[in-house]
Amino acid sequence: MHVQFCSIVPPYLLRRLAQQDAPGFSSAASAARKALGHVESFHTARAQAVPALPPGLRQVKPGPVSRSIYDAAGEETLPGRLVRDEGGEPTGDAAADEAYDGLGNTHRLYADAFGRDSVDGRGLKLDATVHFGKLYDNAFWNGSQMVFGDGDGDVFQRFTKSLSVIGHELAHGVTQYSAGLAYRNQAGALNESMSDVFGALVEQFVKNQSAAEASWLIGEGLFTPKVQGLALRSMQAPGTAYDDDVLGKDPQPDSMDSYVRTSADNGGVHINSGIPNRAFYLVADALGGYAWEAPGRIWYQTLTNGSLPAAATFTVFARATVRAAADLFGAGSREHDAVGAAWETVKVKV
């Protein structure tokens, strides 16, 4: 697509753009100069859902982690220059070393708590690129690797500062290789919620925090001190993570009563995820102890046992968690009851 677009712009026009020297037009000029030199490229892998693994493979003992961290050096070409391979010495660059450590900790949670061998369950090598783009206010999973921006320094700091964000991005990979939840509407909000749940669990696992001790915040520490807010999202109290004069207020609903219908953000995937996020928190709060144990196992089983359709709604997912709780802990167990009660509180019909 990039090539097609580039070829649409006649070279004379690119040359004219490249010569722009009026204030405010410098980025147009430099982009045009780049296009003229055919140096701008941006290839991303296609996101592709892969069916759940057969049970036999899921039982395989997880292997050691294998990480590679790349530096995009402010460009948007992936993966960039390799700066640290598995077992390599720290680079001294905070973003690269945070990414390396974050990938290791996330791999460890999946291996130790769930017996999963990396993102795909088959020992997939974990790649991450840091310093992507200029003042880039985002982190994402492109279907085969994680990508982290440095933030604009005004609202956001570098995105590797938050372990829950690193865990969030890797969990998108786990979802892609298991239930393959579609990234739109309720299935998309579930996809987002899976990433918040397992992102939060990585952070709690590393800090050895119980459900009562945990912050349940996603992206804590990403905002600069100028922003009035703690984090991007709160799983415990969706809608309360920030309330800033300029940013506005965290828009997440905490139950189906305030479900947001929108065509933006792929149908509000980062907004309505507040509802299943809170359901997970409520289960963890009711059961106490470490959330990666019973609550995490129930959610992980639901995501990976092959029964969840890619277009799952909240109700379909809720029912699947209730079944998983019954399978793992027995019908009428406190785990089973806690899951049912959580969905009732957030007003998702089971």
Binding site: F5, G24, D154, H172, H270
Partner: protein, 116 residues
């Protein structure tokens, strides 16, 4: 001609809007080639149409809704390359320069509009 770039999505899901009003002949002379370089007819006009046309979205990517006069385009971040990237970056820089500040926080409208 009013040029408006709206960016939604991203892991933080905070909307940013950059608006520029090209009014003087000099403004129009600078903006017209940038706007006309974009293949408006070859891309979806609305997020809904883009969703129907596109492959599976990549998690946490930005999404751009762009208008210039009567023209509209709706593009995932990965498609904002070539002339679209030039248009988006230029509109952002111009809106922020016109607001006379450092890049404003997400959700803020770095508004290059005059009254009306």
């Amino acid at each position: 001609m009013k040029i408006k770039v709206e960016r939604t999505g991203g892991i933080a899901a905070m909307t940013r809007v950059w608006t520029v009003e090209a009014q003087t002949d000099s403004d129009l002379n600078q903006w017209q080639p940038i706007v006309e370089a974009c293949p408006w007819d070859a891309v979806p006009r609305t997020p809904r149409a883009a969703a129907a046309a596109a492959e599976a979205p990549q998690p946490d990517r930005f999404f751009y809704s762009i208008t210039a006069g009567q023209r509209r385009a709706a593009l995932p971040e990965q498609a904002v390359t070539g002339p679209w990237r030039i248009l988006v970056d230029t509109a952002r820089a111009a809106a922020e320069a016109s607001a006379g500040t450092a890049p404003p926080p997400a959700g803020a409208e770095a508004d290059g509009d005059g009254p009306g």
